[in-house]
Symmetry: C2
Subunit: 111 residues, 2 copies
DNA sequence: TTATTATATTAGAATGTTCAAATATAGTAA
DNA sequence: TTACTATATTTGAACATTCTAATATAATAA
């Protein structure tokens, strides 16, 4: 157990396991954005945004480029979107199943 | 920020963000296994294995079926492997990039 | 019924992650 | 140089996850 590969892979998934970081990646779908612009979009404190950008950077999900005093972020490998969208398929089915069970419960009289 | 979708998606990734849970899913690639057999493969305490199986179950990554006194686990939706393997592509490139930088540093004399 | 085997759950301690606030840095312009 | 704007880093508190150990449950067999 705890092969280096599983350890690294787990870190990779953890890096995606935060709502704000997912929101950041979604905000960058249509191209690079400055931190200020990102902040407007995701509506969090500057410091918090910066901390989460650091995490995304550390796994190379995003890359930063400076232009004068502004820093622009862009996704490093846009295939990550294929990956994120595929995730939707998987948990979509999981949710569907839960929903079906839920519906079944709701439409059953004797509860 | 914090759309329910991002919240759920983050939980989904967190559920995959543990080396043991990834090892469990890998162990189940070739078909269902009993908890005892799984335990032999991943080499952890019974209680710990059970707790992680509970988490995988709660996100429907795995499903349990009882046969007499033995419980067999199997992956609920085998597409999860397509997903996990795609992850490898993404972080593989990330790692490659780091490796390249590292190599460059190592082969540069003036350091 | 009791004992046994297989697995799950619970409670608290240990550890890790995130947040909030303050401070630091880096570039530019005056 | 000083002041300003944009962004990053640090620190400790708040919160969440994981581990350990003990206990619970469920099925079976004796």
């Amino acid at each position: 157990m705890n092969s280096p590969l599983h350890l690294y892979k787990a870190e990779f998934f953890k890096a995606l396991g935060h709502p704000l970081r997912l929101a950041i990646l979604d905000s960058l779908r249509d191209g690079p954005l400055s931190v200020t612009k990102l902040q407007e979009m995701v509506q969090v404190d500057q410091s918090i945004l910066s901390q989460h950008l650091a995490k995304l950077r550390s796994f190379k999900f995003v890359t930063a480029r400076r232009e004068k005093t502004t820093i622009f972020y862009h996704v490093h490998d846009t295939d990550v979107y294929i990956f994120l969208d595929l995730a939707k398929n998987i948990y979509g089915r999981q949710l569907q199943l839960s929903q079906d069970i839920l519906n079944q419960l709701n439409t059953t009289e004797h509860i």
